[in-house]
Each structure stands twice: as structure tokens, then as C-alpha cells.
């Protein structure tokens, strides 16, 4: 970094020898990148403590409640895994897109699209098919609708060069209002006062993994998806092309890679994975759609993808961490009254600190000895 400040010489204008200098490192190793994450998390913890204090609670008591809420028992641990499941998938969805330098901000809407697809399939075929067939079918439905909702921005970008950032954000709103319309109209549960769909048939509910907890099959599906994304990106020719386009689309074009095709494919795939998240969260947990269905999992997915350094293993760890923070802050609210919204605030803070520490670790102090 240049500092732009004049260094004053002595009366004859001689500039003295520098002792210390800030200079750019030649390359940043994995350990330094990990350090950046740790520093960002540390800074975020400090800010959290400040927010907790502002909320009028005792930091120690709050921290203890949070820890117990996340890991204190088998039940809470299972709940933590449960909470990390949908964001693991949206994190993977964002990872795939960001690797191609496509900024998919629409995971939220694609999640909803997938959930709607899953619910529709289950309501349409729920009476006719057994679980073994129905569940995969609902997942396929979600992959299709999510893929469509992601593919459209991809197509517009490939064909017309329109910014996928703005289009995906707009489509989040469009599908929200579409759902609101359907909930008030054809999809309304006639037997209920609330604005919601009928409950999904039993056969579509995802089986539980551990009795007495809410943890369901979706968790396994999410882990499997993480493994598949790894294989895709680093072991297949398609993944090679995706990464190449993300780093240097020009060079990729010169060597025969069809950037337009990759754009559409990646956005559709990203949307499909986010849609799958919807197919897991709804049938696994709520079993119906309401206006509150989308809770920010799409945006959390962005943070998780960045924290996880756009690598599936990192994404799994980051998702686990965030799952713990959901269950933890929930318990913390019960114990100390700190609003759960602190979660979202911290997410933004972590990302900002991570962006800063990422830059800081690229520089170092060096002692320069120059002999004149």
C-alpha cells in the first residue's frame, strides 16, 4: 500500500534508510487464510459481546446459555445439525455459482421455488405413491423448480449480459409475491384460519434420523451433496471449466470453453441445489408453506460460502458453526432476553471483518537493511 505522505529529509534532502516497511507478500498460504478467518471470528465475538451488553444481558451468562443450547445434550446437538442442514445446501449452491464468478444472490428465492415445487408434487401425488417413490420425486420437483428459478437469470446473463446480481434479487421478490398470491388463492388450506398450504401427506415427510429429535434424512442428503460438489469442481472436466471461467473467462474462451453455456448451467445448478434445500427443510420440518417460510437461509448461504472459502469442506464446517449459533442464540434469548436477530447482525459483521482480514494478511512488515 502506498502511504502518500512525504517523508521529510534532513536539511540537505538526504532520505534516511528505512528500517520497517509494509510490503505485499508474494503469495498467501493456506495457513494465513485460516488465520484471517480466525481473526474475523474473534473480532465478531467481541462485537457480539458488545451487542449482548447493550441488550442488557450478562455476557458470561449469555455465552453459557448459548453453548448449552448448541451442544449441551444429544437433543440440542441434533438440533444444531438440523439447523445447519438447509444453510449447508444454500452455501453449496452459492459456492458453485461464485466459483464461476456468478454472483447468485437469489438462493433465497430459489429455496422458496424448490420448496414450492416439493409441496406441489407431494400434494399432487401424495395419495398415490409410497414414501420410497414420493420423497425422491419431491426432491426432483424441487431440483426442477429451483433450477428454473436459477436458470432464468443465467440465461438472461448469457444472452443479454444483464447483471445476475440484480436479476436474482428481483426474482427473490417476485417469487415471494407469487407464493403470497397462491397462498391466498388456490393453495390455501381451507380448514385453517392461517394463511398456509395444507399439510404435506405423511408419505412425503422425511424420516427422522434420531428418535426424540427433529433431525431428519435431509442432513445426510446435504452431506452427500457436499461430497458431490467437491467431486464436480475438482475431479470433473465440467468443474474444471467452471473454475476456469470464474477466474479468466477470456482465456477460457480462447481455449474453446463455451462461457454462455457454463453460465446457464451453473446458475441452473446453483438454483437447483438451493431448491433442494427447500425440498429438505419443508418436508423435513414444517411440512407446509406459509409466508414465513423463507427465513434468510439464502443470504446466510452467502456468508457460509465466503467463510468456507468456496470449498465444500469449509462450507460444511461453516454451516455447522452457524447452525450452532442459531440454536445457541435461541437458547440465549430464552435465558437472557437478547433478541434472536443478533444472529443476522453478526453474520454481516463476520463477513465485513473477513473481507478486512483477508486484505490485511496479504501484507507483512519487513525489516529492510540498505547500505549506502
Amino acid at each position: 500500500m502506498t502511504d502518500g505522505q512525504p517523508r521529510t529529509g534532513d536539511a540537505t534532502g538526504v532520505i534516511p534508510l528505512r528500517r520497517w516497511k509494509i510490503e505485499k507478500r508474494p503469495d498467501v498460504g493456506a495457513w494465513l487464510q485460516f488465520l484471517a478467518i480466525l481473526l474475523a471470528l474473534a473480532a465478531a465475538f467481541i462485537v457480539s459481546a458488545a451487542l449482548i451488553t447493550i441488550a442488557g444481558a450478562d455476557v458470561g451468562k449469555a455465552a453459557l446459555a448459548a453453548f448449552k443450547g448448541a451442544f449441551g445434550s444429544l437433543k440440542s446437538f441434533a438440533e444444531t445439525l438440523l439447523q445447519s442442514t438447509p444453510i449447508l445446501l444454500t452455501g453449496l449452491a452459492v459456492t458453485v455459482a461464485f466459483r464461476a464468478r456468478l454472483f447468485n444472490i437469489g438462493a433465497e428465492g430459489q429455496f422458496l421455488a424448490g420448496a414450492m415445487g416439493a409441496v406441489w408434487v407431494s400434494l399432487a401425488f401424495g395419495d398415490a405413491l409410497p414414501s420410497g417413490l414420493l420423497i425422491p420425486l419431491t426432491m426432483l420437483g424441487a431440483l426442477a423448480t429451483g433450477g428454473l428459478w436459477g436458470g432464468i437469470p443465467g440465461l438472461l446473463r448469457a444472452r443479454y449480459g444483464t447483471s445476475e446480481i440484480i436479476v436474482t434479487v428481483m426474482m427473490n421478490f417476485v417469487i415471494y409475491f407469487l407464493l403470497a398470491f397462491l397462498l391466498g388463492d388456490v393453495w390455501r388450506d381451507p380448514s385453517s384460519f392461517f394463511l398456509q398450504t395444507p399439510r404435506m401427506p405423511e408419505a412425503a415427510h422425511l424420516p427422522k434420523l434420531i428418535a426424540g429429535t427433529r433431525l431428519h434424512l435431509g442432513f445426510i442428503v446435504a452431506l452427500a451433496a457436499a461430497a458431490l460438489v467437491y467431486v464436480l469442481l475438482w475431479r470433473t472436466a465440467l468443474g474444471y471449466e467452471i473454475r476456469a471461467v470464474g477466474i479468466n473467462a477470456t482465456a477460457a474462451t480462447y481455449k474453446g470453453i463455451d462461457v454462455a453455456k457454463i453460465t446457464v448451467l451453473v446458475m441452473a445448478l446453483s438454483g437447483a441445489i438451493a431448491g433442494l434445500s427447500g425440498a429438505i427443510e419443508i418436508p423435513g420440518l414444517h411440512q407446509r408453506l406459509t409466508l414465513d417460510t423463507s427465513t434468510g437461509v439464502g443470504f446466510t448461504g452467502i456468508i457460509i460460502a465466503m467463510l468456507g472459502r468456496l470449498h465444500p469442506l469449509g462450507v460444511v464446517l461453516a454451516a455447522f458453526f452457524f447452525g450452532a449459533s442459531v440454536t445457541g442464540t435461541s437458547a440465549m434469548q430464552i435465558a437472557t432476553g437478547v433478541p434472536v436477530a443478533i444472529n443476522q447482525a453478526i453474520q454481516g459483521i463476520i463477513l465485513i471483518f473477513l473481507l478486512i482480514t483477508d486484505v490485511l494478511v496479504r501484507y507483512r512488515l519487513r525489516r529492510i537493511e540498505v547500505h549506502v
Binding site: G161, S163, G348
Partner: protein, 315 residues
């Protein structure tokens, strides 16, 4: 249906158009200046939301709407400075910073609101009394035009005045010329010895202040209450406006008025009792933004260095 076309209806429709265009026009003009300095600020949504909340809180706490407005502008400016620090000094990926700011704002504003007000359910949110409209003496009595243009909020007049001011600044002042230079080729400006980083800070801070002002309009003039995510994507629409206004103040104004018209039309239809599913109408502006982006692809005035950080040393 005949009520649809009488003068009173049209007057109220057009007056609504101008009123509803105000927040996005303010934010878009701020973003125009920011982007002309070469910085892509995607955090406009977050800055608007923060302005909305801070304005509301301060106005509620002090009883003064103007103090609330000032606080909103200040907060927007501070967030703008943060954005400038990350984008111009640290030279972080601008897209990511903007997204981070949005998330931060969404979480922080909800957190703060929940702390300050215990009305968790949305049946009875806390309200305050809002800015009234200001009638321009004499002009407000002109039939139709008087209601549409001269009986608006003070902030609306301000927004409309910023349009020619922005044009004048960019094309007829020394600083405007330098700013356009920075947006197209920061290296050239740096080599002329201009302190370009300082200018970028000023431009982004201005953008933040305008976004904060736009947010304040939502809670202090338009509605009188705050709900989480009250900005509902308007910041993003403002960004889109800059693009298909081709980075020209006057075209951006026309774009904002167009969106205001859609919004106003949807409200008026509801008021008149026309039976159209109102959720679909609510989604219309967002759909139209996509359509407009596709239709208007020639971005010939886009600052050449937009979003690209500049390093003086090549190594």
C-alpha cells in the same frame, strides 16, 4: 370502472407517482455519483434500511422529525465512509462489501428495533406522525399540476432539485470533471497528481447520505412506522435505475417516475376497489426491473473503471 378516468383519480395517481418515486430517486442519484467515481456500491439497500430505522428511532425518541432526518443522513454517510474505506483504501471486492453491508444492516436494524419496541407481532406497530406535505404558495392551486407537483413533501422537492444539481456538478464543474475522470481511468487522474482516493470517499459518502435520506422518507414521510426490511428491495431498484438511466441524471429521474407510477397505480386500483390480486401487482415493479434491464442493454456511458480497484504499483 368509470371512476378510473376522472380528473381526481388521475391527479391522485400522478401525485402518488411523484411521491413514491422520491426514495428511489434520492438513492439512485446518490449511487450515480458513487459510480461515477468508479465504485459500485451494492449496499444501497442496507443504507436505505439503516436510514429508515435510525430516522424512525431518533424521531420517536426526540419528537423531532428533522432531527430524525439528520440522523438518518448521518448514518448513511457513515456507512458510506465504511464502504469507501473497504473499496478505495483496502481495495476489497466491491460486490462482496456491498452484500455484507446489506446483511449487516438487515440484522442490525431488526435487532435494534426489537430491542427498542416490544410490539413483536405486526398487529399494532408503533407509529409516529409524519412530515406533512408542503404546498407551494400560488402554484399549488393550479388544477391538476398543482396537486401533482406542488403539494409534495419537502424531501420530494429536494429530490427533484438534486437532478439538475447533479447534472450541473458532473458537467460544469471542475470536481465533476475530475470525478468522471476517476471513474473512467483512475490511473490517468492519479498520474496528474490528483488525490483521487479523497474524491472517492466523498462520492461514496454522498451516496450513503442520499440512500439514508431515501430511507428516512419511507418512515418519516411515507408511512410513519417501521417494519423489518421496510425498504423491500428499493435500494436494488435504485441501482438498476442508474444502469438503465445510462448514468444520466435526467433519465434516472424518468425511470424513478416510471416506477413511482407503477406503484401508485397499484395502490390506486386497490383504493378504488378493483378486483385484481394485489400480491401480483406488488411483485410487478420487480418484474419490470428485470424487463427494463434486458430491454436497455447499451450501457454506453458506464464508467469504464466501475468496480475495478486501482493499484498504483503494478507489483
Amino acid at each position: 370502472m368509470s371512476e378510473l378516468w376522472d380528473v381526481a383519480f388521475i391527479a391522485s395517481l400522478l401525485a402518488g407517482m411523484v411521491r413514491l418515486a422520491t426514495p428511489i430517486l434520492l438513492a439512485a442519484l446518490g449511487e450515480l455519483i458513487t459510480e461515477r467515481a468508479g465504485i459500485l456500491n451494492l449496499g444501497v439497500e442496507g443504507m436505505m434500511l439503516t436510514g429508515a430505522l435510525v430516522g424512525f428511532l431518533v424521531a420517536y425518541g426526540t419528537g423531532s422529525l428533522w432531527l430524525g432526518t439528520a440522523a438518518a443522513v448521518l448514518c448513511g454517510g457513515l456507512l458510506g465512509l465504511l464502504m469507501a474505506f473497504m473499496a478505495a483504501t483496502l481495495k476489497v471486492d466491491q460486490i462482496l462489501v456491498g452484500l455484507a453491508l446489506n446483511l449487516l444492516a438487515l440484522g442490525s436494524t431488526t435487532f435494534a428495533y426489537r430491542l427498542a419496541f416490544k410490539d413483536v407481532g405486526t398487529q399494532n406497530p408503533t407509529t409516529i406522525s409524519t412530515f406533512g406535505t408542503v404546498k407551494v404558495p400560488g402554484l399549488a392551486d393550479i388544477p391538476l399540476l398543482g396537486e401533482v407537483l406542488f403539494s409534495q413533501h419537502a424531501l420530494t422537492y429536494l429530490a427533484l432539485l438534486v437532478v439538475p444539481a447533479a447534472y450541473f456538478f458532473l458537467y460544469h464543474t471542475k470536481y465533476g470533471l475530475e470525478l468522471r475522470g476517476i471513474g473512467d481511468n483512475p490511473r490517468a487522474v492519479d498520474m496528474r497528481g490528483v488525490a483521487y482516493t479523497r474524491r472517492q470517499y466523498a462520492a461514496v459518502a454522498f451516496g450513503g447520505m442520499m440512500a439514508g435520506l431515501g430511507g428516512a422518507f419511507l418512515t418519516l414521510a411515507a408511512s410513519g412506522l417501521f417494519v423489518p426490511d421496510i425498504s423491500a428491495g428499493r435500494g436494488w431498484i435504485a441501482i438498476a435505475l442508474v444502469i438503465f438511466g445510462n448514468w444520466q441524471p435526467v433519465w434516472i429521474m424518468f425511470g424513478a417516475l416510471f416506477f413511482g407510477l407503477i406503484d401508485s397505480f397499484q395502490l390506486s386500483l386497490q383504493a378504488v376497489g378493483v378486483d385484481v390480486p394485489h400480491e401480483l401487482l406488488l411483485g410487478l415493479p420487480y418484474l419490470l426491473t428485470i424487463v427494463a434491464l434486458v430491454l436497455n442493454r447499451r450501457r454506453t456511458q458506464m464508467p469504464l473503471s466501475l468496480g475495478i480497484p486501482y493499484y498504483r504499483e503494478s507489483r
